[in-house]
């Protein structure tokens, strides 16, 4: 075995392996590293059915964070949704509203944020006051059937 050829092939393998890792970073994961810089925000919903950790938080259809935990707030007995908003989204006003939306008819639940008008900005640990609960298909169908029965 020629020594030059040996070194060349080993070097080529190393380069190919590292190049593959770089390609995985850029092409496959789109260079997305979600865990860089974020601040916590929470919101109280009357009903957070179907929402869980890792659900998207969006504004105008663009992902700006993710849900960390869903629990019950012991004082108000409402669902407390804790979220992490990406650090670069630092211009949400304090009166922004949050609603739980569904992607498609049966798709996953996510939180949609609608920007408010105040000058004060939403900071770390703030609570979004204005919320709209999840749309529950069963309740909707029940309502529809009752309406149908009335006619």
């Amino acid at each position: 075995m020629n020594k030059r050829w040996l070194e060349l092939s080993v070097g080529a393998m190393m380069v190919a392996g590292i190049a593959a890792l770089v390609a995985l970073a850029l092409q496959v994961s789109g260079g997305s590293m979600r865990n860089v810089g974020h601040y916590p925000v929470s919101a109280l919903f009357e009903n957070a059915a179907g929402l869980g950790p890792k659900a998207k938080v969006t504004m105008a259809g663009v992902t700006i964070g993710e849900v960390v935990a869903v629990g019950i707030d012991p004082d108000t007995l409402m669902a407390e949704v804790r979220m992490q908003i990406y650090g670069q989204i630092n211009y949400l006003s304090i009166d922004s509203s949050a609603s739980i939306l569904t992607a498609g008819l049966l798709g996953e639940k996510y939180v949609g944020i609608t920007a408010g008008a105040e000058d004060d900005l939403l900071g770390a640990g703030d609570v979004i006051e204005d919320t709209q609960s999840a749309l529950i298909l069963e309740e909707l169908i029940g309502q529809f059937l009752i309406n149908l029965g009335d006619k």
Binding site: L6, M13, A20, V28, M33
Partner: protein, 264 residues
């Protein structure tokens, strides 16, 4: 009767003690081989072993990655098109490969291709008393023979796994996009949305590193401790493949549970 039960328990104890001694020996071997000041000439030996362990495993890794990616693309397409969401095939192929299949299948192939060869090589060196003659020259065979092979395994497998993932994803692209007509933009777009570099790609690499450690360790210890006969070498080679495969699958479950088990 009582005698028989006592004998059984004693035998069990003896087996357990024997296994413990073996594990202790394996650990000592590893410690002695890895805690050594590297010399300039050890780099040459490392490159030599990287060629044997890594470069020569490339072909089998490339071919199996391509076919596994193609099968995933095909299966994913037929399954997902039943729900009208065949554009999610890219995401499925990429996540399956990056998180699970690339580390596990590459490690299994690596154990069969490189691990068994390492065991047989060292076993034969032992049987033909090459290791003993090295010691007579005052050269520690652990440093000279075992250490470069160990590091070569640790370096090669993660690289091979990265190559496996990428080739598999392009294999899936070949079938899903070029053949079955999924829109290329949604193949890559869905994938980029679903795959996270830290969480998925780096965790896959971490798995590869753990598997590389297990395979190299098992293969080298089996070779180093085998009976110096032809049956001994063949039994040690078999044990390398069996133990490595079981260790890979067992540790894969543990690692998956730790990484993606949804720590609540």
């Amino acid at each position: 009767m009582l005698r028989f039960v006592v004998d059984c328990i004693a035998n069990l104890g003896a087996v357990l003690l024997h296994k413990l001694v073996q594990m202790g020996q394996a650990l000592l071997m590893l410690l002695q081989a890895t805690t050594v000041q590297p010399k300039a000439s050890s780099l040459t030996r490392l490159i030599q072993q990287l060629y044997v362990v890594g470069v020569q495993s490339l072909i089998i890794i490339l071919v199996s990655a391509l076919f596994i990616g193609m099968v995933l693309g095909l299966q994913g397409f037929t399954l997902l098109s039943a729900y009208g969401s065949e554009q999610a095939v890219g995401q499925m192929v990429a996540l399956t490969l990056v998180r699970e299949l690339a580390p596990v299948v590459a490690a299994l192939l690596f154990a069969g291709r490189a691990g068994s060869a390492l065991t047989a090589e060292i076993g034969l060196m032992k049987a033909t008393e090459q290791l003993a003659s090295l010691e007579m020259f005052g050269i520690d065979p652990l440093h000279r023979i075992v250490a470069p092979r160990f590091w070569a395994g640790i370096i090669s497998l993660p690289l091979l796994v990265a190559i496996f993932s990428l080739v598999g994803i392009y294999g899936g692209h070949l079938v899903a996009v070029e053949w079955l007509g999924v829109y290329s933009g949604s193949y890559w777009g869905n994938m980029q949305q679903a795959v996270d570099f830290n969480e998925d790609v780096l965790n896959g690499m971490l798995k590869a590193l753990v598997f590389a450690f297990l395979i190299s360790w098992i293969a080298l210890y089996q070779g180093y401790s085998c009976l110096p006969t032809s049956q001994g070498i063949s039994a040690a080679t078999t044990r390398t493949v069996v133990y490595s495969s079981l260790a890979i699958l067992g540790f894969d479950f543990i690692l998956t549970a730790l990484m993606f088990g949804g720590a609540v």
